[in-house]
């Protein structure tokens, strides 16, 4: 019994030492060889969302290759160091640690998903490395729920609720809507966030939300009862900010019930077989908000270069990976040095950066870019670029 107690004290003492060790000043970071700038990439190269990660990394690599061909940055060539986070949060922390300590990169691009980005934040904050996530849309990445700014985190994409604002503006300005109906997935934060910002923007402009109906994603297949209600309220447009599976069924059933008004949604529509579920006919007169449109004329050069380099079609993940890398390189250029703090400040005050997914102005209070969003329209089952909507 007594030996056990002594043993416990010993362990506590030992653990306290390791804590103290953690506080000790970090070893001075050696500057990498003077003629090369190291940029790290933390991407989902294997695992569940490997498709996102591979496209994003290819986009980032293309940006770096183009920059090197144009003479590099600050007269130095850029060296890209990749790390695979295996689509897992724990591996993302490990990959970031490797990039920070072994490779000593001065900036990191990636990860693509919000969860993996969240897992990288403690490491980049400890080592003071600016990180630009291409597609991490969760608002808490840059500003925590307590309202504190994560100094070292930036992103190339807009955040989720912004899509609701864009959809509302598009509905009012382009489609001339005055009465909207909402169909909301009551389980999803994504859908609720988009619906709330749509409602706020729409009502602020003096327009009316005539119906707000709920469903449960993953469970419901019959939406006729709520659609009958909506039809009765005669809205000009219906906003359904859900994921493709339910949205496809809702659109099909809405068209069957002879609801012919325009239907709008967010980027959750774009990643799945929505057209197969709803049918080509039913998808006519529907629109959704996305980061980029593959056939946006502004993207043509990038899409061609991407195809030539990787023999793959560019998508929004590739475009935002490209923009994230470009943004980081532009910040290094603007900072005029490879000092990480200077790069951070340059990112924080970045304005008028011309990305292929839209011009980016970083809001220094939130680190969220203010940029345009694309509206895509379905015509006979094909997604077609309809408009770019600028932030107001």
């Amino acid at each position: 019994m007594k030996t056990k107690k002594i043993f416990t004290y010993l362990i506590v003492a030992l653990l306290s030492f390791t804590l103290l060790a953690g506080c000790s000043p970090k070893a001075p970071t050696d500057q990498p060889a003077a003629d090369v700038v190291k940029i790290g990439g933390n991407f989902e190269l294997t695992g569940g969302v490997a498709e996102f990660g591979k496209k994003g990394e290819n986009g980032a690599k293309l940006a770096i290759k183009e920059a090197n061909e144009a003479g590099g940055v600050l007269g130095m060539q850029i060296e890209y160091v990749g790390a695979d986070n295996k689509s897992e949060a724990g591996e993302s922390t490990a990959a970031t640690t490797k990039l920070a300590t072994q490779d000593e990169v001065i900036g990191i691009i990636g990860p693509m998903t919000s969860g993996n980005t969240l897992a990288a934040i403690p490491v980049i904050t400890e080592y003071g490395i600016p990180l630009v996530t291409p597609t991490g849309t969760n608002s808490t990445l840059t500003v925590t729920e307590a309202g504190a700014l994560n100094d070292w985190v930036f992103r190339a994409c807009f955040i989720d609720p912004f899509q609701g604002e864009v959809a509302a503006n598009f509905a009012m300005d382009t489609l001339g809507a005055t009465k909207a109906a909402l169909v909301i997935d009551q389980k999803g934060d994504y859908a609720k966030g988009l619906a709330a910002s749509f409602k706020e923007t729409f009502e602020k402009a003096g327009k009316e939300i005539v119906a707000s109906e709920q469903y449960v994603a993953g469970q419901d297949t019959d939406f006729r009862a709520i659609l009958t209600n909506i039809k009765n309220k005669q809205p000009d447009i219906i906003f359904i900010p859900g994921y493709y599976n339910e949205v496809g069924m809702i659109i099909k059933q809405a068209r069957d019930a002879k609801i012919d008004v325009a239907i709008l949604g967010g980027d959750g529509w774009g990643t799945g077989p929505i057209v197969d579920i709803a049918g080509k006919e039913a998808m006519n007169n529907t629109y959704y908000v996305d980061h980029v449109a593959a056939d946006d004329p502004a993207l043509a050069d990038f899409a061609a270069a991407f195809k030539a380099e990787y023999n793959q079609d560019a998508d929004s993940f590739a475009a935002l990976g490209y923009d994230a890398a470009k943004l980081l390189i532009a910040a290094i250029e603007k900072a005029g040095s490879t000092d990480k703090e200077a790069i951070r400040v340059a990112l924080e005050t970045m304005s008028g950066f011309a990305g292929i997914s839209g011009d980016i102005n970083v809001d220094s209070a939130t680190h969220n870019p203010q940029k345009s969003a694309s509206i895509l329209k379905f015509v006979d089952g094909e997604k077609i670029f309809a408009a770019r909507v600028d932030p107001k």
Binding site: Q186, E213, Q214, Y215, V216, G218, Q219, D220, T221, D222, R224, A225, I226, T228, N229, K231, N232, Q234, N245, G248, M249, K252, Q253, D256, A257, K258, G272, P273, D276, I277, A278, G279, E281
Partner: protein, 296 residues
């Protein structure tokens, strides 16, 4: 649109169409319960397998609706019998709780086996019948609604005839009344139970194909919610009583439509399960149940 009566008629149509599907699934619950007092929680997942067989027939084999329906019903009937032989028959003399827990196990096996083999990806049916929409003033219904209601009515009529007049049907009624006396009269109880599972499973398969064709999407977990709702329908009508399942299914469909219709879409599922609680408190034998059916 506008007039309230139109709105009500539209919701009644929605409710009957949805309720027909619940009724088809509820029949399987109620028949199995009637004969071996087992709530077969795998029943909703058997419906899912039926939907996948129907999907395979219409996509890969390019069959039309009726052959796909019949093939799905046939193979799902075999699956139902197989499950009974493997999972439930060895427990014939065990406690009812043991069989019930086995049923939950079979349910998980089918759900996650389905995810393993078929992947969780949602599949879509091709258009197997015309997408015509009929309009009467402001009221609309689809060709698919007609197919659902007709198929249900035909299958229920056949079932009623089988149970009332065929040898198997008579044997089923005898076994559900008194298993031991039936076996003393020379009825093969095991075969009769198998037949019950086969019929119940094939009705579930029909419901699965109808859901798949009508709503156009199927996935390995699609059986959970309709299965639970149909269970409530079976209890509501009086579990073990075949006409009760039909009535219970329709009532459930109508209640759901009206709860959503008066603007409480969030409360729809809650209303369905609230009915279950009320029935169990007020009239545990269900709408069509006789008050005392104690067997000696």
């Amino acid at each position: 649109m506008g007039s309230v009566s139109d709105l009500i008629i539209q919701q009644i149509i929605n409710g009957i169409s949805l309720g027909s599907i619940y009724a088809l699934i509820a029949l399987g619950y109620t028949m199995v319960y009637g004969i071996i007092q087992l709530i077969n929680f795998a029943h909703g997942d058997i419906m899912m397998v039926g939907a996948y067989i129907g999907w395979f027939c219409t996509t890969t084999l390019m069959l039309s609706f009726i052959p796909a329906l019949i093939i799905a019903m046939f193979f799902t009937a075999l699956l139902g019998m197989l499950i009974e032989r493997i999972a439930y028959k060895p427990l014939r003399h065990a406690t009812r709780l043991a069989v019930l827990i086995t049923a939950i196990g079979v349910s998980f096996f089918l759900e996650y086996g389905g995810i393993l083999i078929l992947t969780p990806q949602t599949r879509t049916f091709p258009e197997v019948f015309p997408q015509t929409v009929y309009e009467f003033g402001n009221i609309t219904f689809k060709y698919g609604d007609v197919v659902i209601i007709l198929t249900t009515v035909i299958l229920m009529a056949i079932l009623t005839l089988v149970v009332k007049y065929s040898r198997v049907g008579k044997a089923m009624r005898a076994v559900s009344f008194d298993k031991e006396a039936a076996s003393l009269m020379g009825i093969n109880v095991d075969n009769t139970i198998s037949a019950t599972f086969a019929i119940g499973s094939s009705l579930a398969a029909a419901a699965g194909v109808l859901i798949g064709v009508y709503f156009n999407t199927i996935n390995p977990l699609m059986g959970i919610m309709p299965g639970l709702k149909a269970f409530v329908a079976a209890v509501l009508g009086g579990i073990g009583i075949i006409p009760g399942a039909m009535v219970g299914g329709l009532v459930m469909g109508l209640v759901e439509s009206f709860v959503s219709g008066i603007g409480f879409s969030t409360w729809r599922d809650a209303a369905a399960f609230f009915i279950l609680i009320i029935v169990l408190i007020v009239k545990p034998t269900g709408l069509l149940g006789k008050n005392i059916r104690e067997k000696v």
